[in-house]
Amino acid sequence: MSNAQIEIQLIASIVAIACAIPGTFLVLRKMAMISDAISHSILPGIVIGFFITQDLNSPLLIILAAFSGVITVVLVEYIQKTGLVKEDTAIGLVFPVLFSIGVILIAKNANDVHLDVDAVLLGELAFAPFDRLLISGVDVGPKSLWIIGSILILTVTLVIAFFKELKVSTFDAGLSASLGFSPVVIHYGLMTVSSVTTVGAFDAVGAILVVALMIAPAASAYLLTTDLKRMLIYSICFGILSAISGYWLAHWLDASISGSITTMLGLLFLGIYLFAPNKGVIAVLYREKQQRTEVLLLTFLLHLKNHTEKRERHVNHLNEHINWQKVRSKTILDLAFKNNMILIENKIVSLTEKGDEFTSQAIDYIITNEDAQIEDMKDDFFLFRG
């Protein structure tokens, strides 16, 4: 590994961490699309800042761009407050217009300078190590590393300092207001941090990758845990993992680094989306199937409990009466039998003591509407699940 390669991976990882932290809160606050809007609408801020400073790395440019990000949020909220359109429409209206203004500004005024829309939107990490920061003639490393590094330190300090405020206002804005931390201040603080991070990262990795790095690790982490601290740690790990593996994918394919990092994030999310325990699609589908069988079982047991006459409890009759297909009735019957809830004598089905008790309790819970208790009760009674 050459020096430049290490530097690229270092920058990518730091960007990933700096994005994952605000991203986690954005996902939890259901504001993920705001990051997309910000990442587009910083363009006019960048363009205007560039006209003033003529330097893509100047701090003024970052401030102006972050300011236009905050303006986006304010505009979206203002439009939403008028009640003329819904929030999502407000987002969808504001950022394309601001982005268009940026594109037109570039087209009209900046034809011969190093600033084009592709660069802003897509970024090129491969060039990041060539832009060095020189302090009194001494090379101290790539500029973007310093910029994103200081943003990361700022973000981490703010998160540690205001962790409990962020946590409370994220999950219960009303409680946070009544405790005396203004949710509005926290909200705008978070928006400002997101804007600053987006701006700091765009030049290295591009606006779209910033969105991916904010949302995808947080969303993947959210499928694995419900603990805020753990979610933050997971998303940081996912971010770093995809940053480094993405770099090597790009190296191998000779393609865009930001594109490869996003692709790795996508694969990671796809994997977690499918296989996450409890919340992954496969687990959910399996649980749904299980619950369906168990509800059918309960219906079946209720039928048995309600009918004492032999005619109603004959296997053939049950098949007809409850109108299940053969296969399904066999599964249910097997399940009930395995769990010692029924007895079958001469093709007459009857409840065992255990089955009787289970059914009575289940009815109680259903009548009192304490649905949550049924799951615990199933654990007590079932030897085998559906």
């Binding site: 996902v27 592709d118 594109g259």
Partner: protein, 375 residues
């Protein structure tokens, strides 16, 4: 270039005519379908789909190796649909919310598309140049066959829209009721979503991935302010969309260095702004005017009530009082006093005022009336 000259040019110049026609048709179809997206609270779906279409374009190119725009659009359609259904899957099967799902699909698909595009650029194939026009769109590359395709798709959309009008309408406003009536809601839902995807994909070549969502939303959001009827809204949105297409093309054609996509979006944005401010029933301006008018009325009532309480203490209702005693009262202004005179509740005599018997009667019933109205 003045306007008449430009209009003449639109009819004579092949390129300009094609582009104007293309953007107009595109604006109409996106406006039409955008109305449904806005009302179904799926506004950002357009943004997600347009980004999700990018890998489809790249893959279609990788497979066929040809730059035929119809094949590429087919690829875009397929990957847009995959993106849409994945979004639905995420929302339905996990506890992730719709905004997260949209942002995820948008950025992940787009990033993957970028990976493929840069990969294609490194291939030894001279044909690949120009794929990136789908990023920001280039209306200038529209040819007659593209416009023809757009027109056909628009007609099909219109036909299906009219055919399933009542189904679309009822699903829009009450999905549960639709299901109880026995309609196949899933089918209608997929139908309308697929058409939205189709419209977005059509627009990619003209306005590009990034700005497509605004084409979908802006005309519909503007139209929404002027009417409460769905058919009127769809019609107006189509009109606004077509108009922003034509005006945007005209502005960008008459200036150097202005790409059509962003200009069309800004024109549509101006439409939205205008509608937000000046719409008679919902607009901010008239709302403010109504607000001020209501406040004036209340102040008038307050003044009248104040006068009434003074007049009450005298045997003669019309006993004159000086205007000065009204001065330390909030609701009093010269114009409100004049209004009361106009309504014949009060008569003025120099610096004195006196309540008429009619004014006294109205004032004594003022609060009773309001209570009666509330009941």
């Amino acid at each position: 270039m003045d306007i008449t000259e430009y209009i003449q040019l639109v009819f004579t110049d092949y390129t300009l005519r094609t582009i104007t026609l293309g953007t107009a048709v595109l604006g109409a179809v996106t406006g039409m379908l955008g109305s449904f997206a806005v009302l179904r609270k799926q506004s950002l779906l357009g943004d997600a789909i347009s980004h999700a279409a990018l890998p489809g374009i790249a893959i279609a190119f990788l497979i066929t190796g040809a730059k035929d725009s119809n094949v590429l659009l087919l690829g875009a359609l397929v990957s847009g649909l995959i993106g849409t259904f994945w979004i639905r899957g995420i929302i339905k099967k996990t506890h992730l919310k719709s905004d997260t799902a949209l942002g995820l699909i948008l950025s992940l698909f787009f990033g993957f598309g970028m990976l493929l595009l840069t990969f294609i650029q490194k291939q030894p194939n001279a044909n690949q140049a120009g794929l990136d026009k789908y990023l920001f769109g280039q209306a200038a590359t529209l040819v007659e066959s593209d416009v023809l395709l757009m027109t056909i798709v628009t007609s099909v959309c219109l036909f299906v829209l009219l055919l399933f009008w009542k189904e679309f309408k009822i699903l829009l406003f009450d999905a549960d009721y639709t299901q109880t009536l026995g309609f196949n809601t899933k089918f209608i839902d997929i139908l309308i979503t697929s058409f939205i995807v189709l419209a977005i994909v059509l627009g990619l070549q003209t306005v590009g991935v990034v700005l497509m969502s605004a084409m979908l939303l802006a005309p519909a959001a503007a139209a929404r302010q002027w009417t409460n009827s769905l058919s009127m809204m769809v019609f107006l949105a189509a009109l606004f969309g077509a108009f922003s297409g034509v005006v945007g093309t005209a502005i960008s054609a008459s200036q150097n260095n202005l790409s059509t996509g962003p200009v069309i979006v800004i024109v549509a944005g101006v439409f939205v702004l205008f509608s937000f401010v000046f719409s008679p029933s919902r607009g901010l301006l008239f709302k403010q005017i109504r607000f001020i008018k209501n406040r004036r009325d209340l102040e008038l009532h307050k003044t009248l009530a104040f006068m009434f309480h003074i007049a009450e203490t005298h045997d003669d209702v019309s006993h004159p009082h000086t205007i000065k005693i009204l001065n330390n009262f909030q609701g009093y202004t010269k114009s409100t006093l004049q209004k009361l005179v106009d309504k014949k509740y009060v008569t003025l005599d120099g610096s004195n005022w006196s309540l008429t018997s009619e004014g006294f009667k109205t004032a004594s019933n003022l609060y009773n009336q309001q209570m009666q109205n509330n009941e």
